[in-house]
């Protein structure tokens, strides 16, 4: 227990360092973008006096280090500043957008596991047979299809033509639970397909390998059924790599979520980021990237902890 606590503490410290480095990188990258945000704020009617005033108001005339320290000091206290364009608090805007991506990623992973695990179990149990070959070929197909290839036909068929699902719009889950699920199902399926293929292939190969371990042979020799061996003895150790894969996958899923947001017109982080970059809304871009990076780092941190909890070999190493 003491080891686990020390390990968690070390990783928490690393987390803080990583986030600090990320904050500097984000700040510098955003300020390297060409173009003055004052022009986006003022538009074609901007005058030099107006531009100067806006630059002064935003503090853009101060040295970069001063700007960074001011922003970072506020950010660690949970204040990400106000959008240059809308003058709305960045934190509140992200508060509306981030749950969209979070829900999209979580739902897509639930769907991916719900499909991939039974597929992998069936394929491992019937290794080399038609079911295994069919699922493996299908997973190749899924891997080769990016979200926009899946999302657009799903949208056209089930929303635009059949009117079974909405094509646009988003109602937060806490406002109308089932309506929200109805709206999020197609985007989540779109995002899940790639994960299904990854998890299926990972779990299948691990299950096949685990089924050849001595402890499995021992379990079989005790007269346990194939089903019992699979679910009680083989599946748990084989799911450990899935935890790591899921954590790593979150980064690419957030990237994929941006495209899915665009296809299904969901008001998530992707739209904020693209609009922020186009209008040089530094505060918004910094806030969005910092939030995404923090989420990614925290998820990986939690995966590390979970890994130790569910795998005794790691815990006692």
């Amino acid at each position: 227990m003491a080891r686990l606590t020390a390990s968690v503490a070390t990783r928490l410290l690393m987390l803080v360092v990583v986030l600090f480095v990320i904050s500097i990188s984000v700040f510098l990258l955003v300020h390297l973008l060409p173009g003055n945000p004052a022009y986006a704020i003022l538009g074609p009617g901007a005058t030099p006096a107006g531009v100067e005033r806006v630059v002064h108001e935003l503090g853009l005339n101060k040295p970069l280090t001063t700007q960074y320290l001011s922003w970072f000091g506020r950010a660690v206290r949970g204040n990400l500043g106000n959008s240059y364009l809308t003058h709305q608090p960045v934190g509140a805007t992200i508060g509306h957008a981030f749950p969209v991506d979070l829900e999209l990623v979580i739902l897509s992973q639930v769907i991916a596991f719900a499909i991939a695990i039974p597929m992998a179990v069936a394929a491992a149990r019937h290794q080399g047979k038609w079911i295994d070959r069919t699922f493996t070929a299908g997973s190749f197909g899924m891997l080769s299809m990016p979200p926009f290839v899946i999302g657009v036909p799903l949208l056209l068929a089930l929303a635009v033509t059949a009117h079974l699902f909405p094509a646009t719009g988003y109602i937060p889950i806490y406002k109308e639970f089932l309506t929200n699920l109805h709206e999020m199902l197609l985007p989540s399926i779109t995002l899940a397909i790639g994960s299904v293929a990854v998890y299926y292939r990972l779990l299948r190969s691990d299950l096949i390998s685990t089924l050849q371990e001595e402890f499995v042979t021992l379990a079989r020799s005790k007269g346990l059924s194939d089903r019992a061996v699979m679910y009680r003895h083989a599946l748990r150790p084989s799911t450990i790599p899935l935890v790591t894969a899921t954590a790593i996958n979150v980064g690419s899923l957030l990237g994929g979520a941006v495209i899915v947001e665009y296809i299904f017109d969901l008001p998530g982080m992707g739209l904020l980021l693209v609009n922020g970059i186009n209008s040089r809304d530094y505060m918004m871009v910094q806030g969005v990237i910092l939030t995404l990076a923090t989420a990614f780092v925290i998820i990986n941190f939690l995966a590390d902890i979970l890994y130790r909890v569910i795998d005794p070999r790691v815990r006692h190493a």
């Binding site: 074609p44 005058t47 709305q88 036909p153 056209l156 089930l158 719009g169 017109d265």
Partner: protein
């Protein structure tokens, strides 16, 4: 040409009225989705789409049926705004759509191109048009209950004129309250078409009147308070803006809708999908691909600005920087004009939907005149390129910038690059974020920019963009003849004189070549068949107002036929 609408059978619920679904419906939908099958649905999706409601759509957005009150309209817009303060946030057409629900303009643009008072009771000039007296209607209140009187109007003008952000009112001297409901707007020189600036169209934002309490508030830009037909409820940037019916609206019996929700959906295809799936009731669009899809689709109501000649349309062009090489040289600008195959451009990029231009006005406009603008001639262009290179000793090389994020911008820049290189020019392309592009335009940090501009209720609204030395004269064109014509048009009450002046401006622009004209930039509005009367606004005295100006329509008289 108005197709008489048929009330038809009771419609299915509209997007805006879509109720929350319960568990049973959710499971039925999920089962239905599976049963439908992707393959068969995909085949179905290839066929032409039909309106979900089954009603007959309106050919011109005008309904003669008795309006029904109530309902919630969901309106898909193509852009988001940065705020609602008319003196701070430069609005795209989508911003004017927001504004017309929350605020009222002092004046309204009529279908015949004239301007009449709207929120104002009267707008009258003195003898030499150096003072305009605005008289307000009695008992009009802002949404916060404060009076919309002369003081409020003067405050709006002062706020706008002191904002530093706009160069459009440089000829305005002061706004003086002369009575409880009257305010005098004093000018530095005669300004005849001034009321056009009060119509609130794109580029005429001074016309929108906001409550002084909103303009004074540090958070006012996000919490609009106007006199408009709808009261602000909620704004979540990039998601939606909701407004509800103003029960005390000064136009008796209006509006018809209970609520309106605007959704900024930047992707044309997503907006179109939303309309066809029944999630939005009405949308605006400026992409010719989507226009073509709807203009011949009998399932939807559709209007556009093609063939509209009021004031000046939004036009596409390539803007040249006349303050630096190579386009500080008339030879280079002429070479580029001759090398520009606008007919092919219009076919390849815009499906031949808009009109090809040879000046800032479209054929059919009273201000249009054939300008003698160079037509496509590759041989002539190549000869001019050689002449430029031999006379200057420089290579004819430049970069064209275009807005990053534009749906077809890469295609457009590639087209120009390929076309102009045939004449021997060396052309680079650069996609630039919108903010950087405006910065580049204002500070002359460009060679050529793919640009869209000049939508105006009256050509005088473009005074600041064409006048020599103006900060908004992005190409840096210095032509005293144009300045004289602009002053002549601004100070004359004679339509013939004004017409002649703008025709002369067009000819001077064709000779100076600060702009390489391409085509008009039309806007369209498409709606589900249950969305009634969306292009039929009237002035308070019952006159027929212009249904749509560059994507901006009035929600005041829209109703839902559910």
């Amino acid at each position: 040409m108005n197709k008489q609408p048929d009330p038809g059978p009771a419609a299915s619920t509209t997007a805006g009225l879509r109720p929350p679904i319960d568990r049973r419906q959710f499971l039925q939908l999920a089962a239905g989705a599976g049963a439908t099958g992707l393959g068969s649905s995909l085949l179905a999706s290839c066929s032409s789409s039909s309106t979900p409601s089954g009603r007959k759509p309106l050919a011109n957005g005008i309904s003669s049926l008795t309006p029904k009150k109530g309902g919630r309209l969901v309106f898909g817009l193509d852009a988001e705004v940065s705020g609602f303060d008319p003196s701070v946030s430069p609005w795209p057409p989508a911003g004017v759509d927001y504004a017309v629900s929350l605020f009222d303009p002092l004046a309204i643009l009529m279908a015949d191109g004239t301007v009449r008072p709207y929120l104002a009771q009267s707008i009258t000039p003195n003898a030499d048009y150096t003072v305009w007296t605005i008289t307000m209607r009695p008992n009009v209140l802002f949404h916060d209950g404060t009076p919309c009187d002369a003081k409020a109007i003067a405050y709006n003008f002062d706020h706008f004129n002191k904002s530093e952000f706009f160069v459009f009112l440089t000829d305005m001297k002061a706004a003086k309250v002369t009575g409880p409901l009257t305010v005098d707007i004093e000018m530095n020189s005669p300004w005849v078409p001034f009321p056009a600036f009060l119509t609130g169209s794109v580029g005429a934002q001074v016309g929108w009147i906001a409550a002084p309490s909103m303009l004074r508030s540090s958070n006012g830009a996000a919490n609009p308070v106007g006199t408009g037909p709808f009261k602000f409820v909620e704004w979540i940037p990039n998601d939606h803006m909701t407004a509800e019916r103003n029960p005390h609206y000064w136009r008796s019996g209006l509006p018809y809708l209970d609520q309106i929700e605007y959704r900024p959906i930047p992707s044309s295809s997503s907006r179109s999908n939303g309309l066809q799936a029944g999630n939005i009731d009405i949308m605006i669009d400026a992409t010719t691909q989507v226009m073509v899809e709807y203009m011949h689709n009998p399932g939807y109501s559709y209007i556009d600005t093609l063939g509209e000649h009021i004031g000046e349309p939004s036009v596409n062009f390539v803007m040249l920087n006349m303050t630096r090489s190579p386009f500080d040289n008339l030879l280079a600008r002429k070479a580029l004009a001759y090398a520009t195959d606008v007919e092919r451009y219009n076919k390849v990029i815009a499906n031949n939907v808009p009109a090809v231009l040879d000046g800032p006005f479209v054929p059919g406009s009273p201000y249009y005149v054939p300008t003698g603008y160079p037509t496509y001639d590759l041989k002539q262009a190549s000869a001019l390129v050689r002449q430029y290179q031999s006379s200057t000793g420089k290579r004819f090389e430049f970069t064209i910038q275009g807005p990053a994020g534009g749906a077809t911008e890469t295609e457009i820049l590639s087209f120009w690059q390929g076309t102009w290189q045939q004449a021997g020019m060396s052309v680079n392309t650069s996609l630039v974020a919108e903010a950087a592009m405006i910065d580049n335009a204002i500070n002359h940090k460009f060679d050529a920019i793919d640009w869209t501009q000049f939508s105006a209720p009256d050509p005088d609204c473009n005074y600041a963009f064409w006048r020599s030395g103006s900060l908004a004269n992005f190409p840096g064109n210095d032509d005293g003849s144009i300045d004289a014509e602009l002053v002549s048009a601004r100070s004359s009450t004679n339509l013939a004189v004004r017409r002649q002046a703008y025709q002369a401006v067009s000819k001077h622009l064709a000779a100076d070549l600060p702009y390489i004209w391409t085509n008009s930039a039309p806007y369209a509005v498409m709606a589900g068949a249950h969305t009634m009367n969306f292009a039929n606004p009237t002035s308070p005295d019952g006159g027929k107002a212009l249904g749509m100006k560059d994507g901006f329509i009035w929600p005041t008289q829209i109703w839902l036929n559910d």
